[in-house]
Symmetry: C2
């Protein structure tokens, strides 16, 4: 059952929505690792590495996320196994990569990592990445954009409570398009996906906006093969 | 980058809807392979095997499908990579299985395979399978049942043309529940997913039913990472 010429790696596409846009609006960022050796030396690549024999796939993805960002994922899901014959630049080696995608809460993601070979890059302005990683990021974005329309995944980019404006801001950052505030508000409230916490955003405003939390009684989420619903994972 | 203690396998969950139910209605079947050695000797398992170093993942899945059934898939999609630490019965070996799921046209699936260690079993009556394969089949069914509501996947269980009754029959076999014929007809026609071929089912009936084909102009399908839409694949 051994396949001596095929190496197995786990990589993770990590998204966070940070308040870096005009008027503090959210933009989508991801952390990447600069390659310090050939092939693709100097180019940015997805964090990851060989699967350890004694490590679960998801644990491996969470570990590389933690090593890269110092953080725990808000959401972590298997994306796809990439195994094309020509995806390694080295003809002697074939690498099959099982790729996860993850989201982080924006407040955490603003912390900088001490390693100079790790950087947060804006999704809209990515340079060509090492290996087939540009295509993998595109596919992760496609999955994220699909998923946000029917699941609670937007929640994982925010803290425990949030205003409807913050939730809309995450949707806009992911979809890359402005949404009508009144329509968004009506649809979200009608879906039953969020609950009014009864509290309001603290601050100096005359009418501070209400804070909501996700309705965890409502199973909007996908099921993964272990039967868990894919929401908060540690 | 090598992971010497981890073997990589590709397995395939293959579904076909055959006219074996009451009044010739369709039921969901899948081909399985009887294990002739330990562990799990005598139990049924998913077709598959080690990934060949020079073989694409999807090609490997299609090959095991062809070896098992003598057929080509109507639809083939990556399901999930299963890599838990305890999924092999042998403590010295860890197997990560990249699992695909596939559908076959029912007419082809009625052909029997000459190998006595391959058999078609009814999904509703599966015995416990080897390894974690029972859970994998459950997850493939979950994916199939979700997918049939928003994609053209039902098409792949039928021939090029079909009646609306046949299409409903496939949906009922997959969902495991009867559907109201008038509602189903109205929803399918309103969706634009099928086109009237202008011909009718040949036979002796006074008013033979119309034959439809899928509207391939309409992209109801998922995209896979290579940017193909997942419909007819050869």
């Amino acid at each position: 059952m051994t396949t001596p010429n095929v190496a197995l790696a786990v990589s993770t596409v990590i998204f966070a929505a940070r308040n870096t846009g005009p008027d503090g609006r959210k933009e989508l960022w991801l952390p990447l690792v600069r390659r310090i050796r050939d092939p693709f030396r100097g180019l940015w690549a997805l964090p990851g590495g060989p699967l350890k024999p004694d490590e679960d796939l998801e644990d491996s993805a969470a570990r590389s996320l933690h090593l890269t960002t110092g953080l725990q994922p808000g959401y972590l899901e298997q994306l796809y196994a990439f195994g094309g014959l020509t995806r390694s630049a080295n003809a002697d080696e074939r690498v099959v990569s099982i790729v996860y995608w993850a989201s982080l809460c924006a407040d955490q993601a603003s912390e900088l990592h001490p390693d100079l070979n790790v950087a947060w890059l804006r999704v809209d302005e990515l340079p060509p990445l090492a290996f087939d990683h540009s295509g993998i990021v595109d596919y992760a974005l496609y999955r994220l954009r699909n998923k946000i329309t029917y699941s609670r995944v937007a929640h994982s980019f925010l803290g425990e409570t949030f205003t409807l404006a913050e939730l809309r801001d995450v949707h806009e950052a992911i979809l890359g398009t402005p949404l009508d505030p009144a329509n968004f508000r009506r649809q979200v409230l009608a879906s039953g996906a969020v609950l009014d916490t009864g509290t309001r955003l603290e601050g100096t405003r005359h009418r501070p906006p209400r804070l909501y939390r996700y309705n965890t009684d409502l199973d909007l989420a996908d099921r993964d093969p272990a039967g868990r619903t894919t929401q908060e994972q540690t």
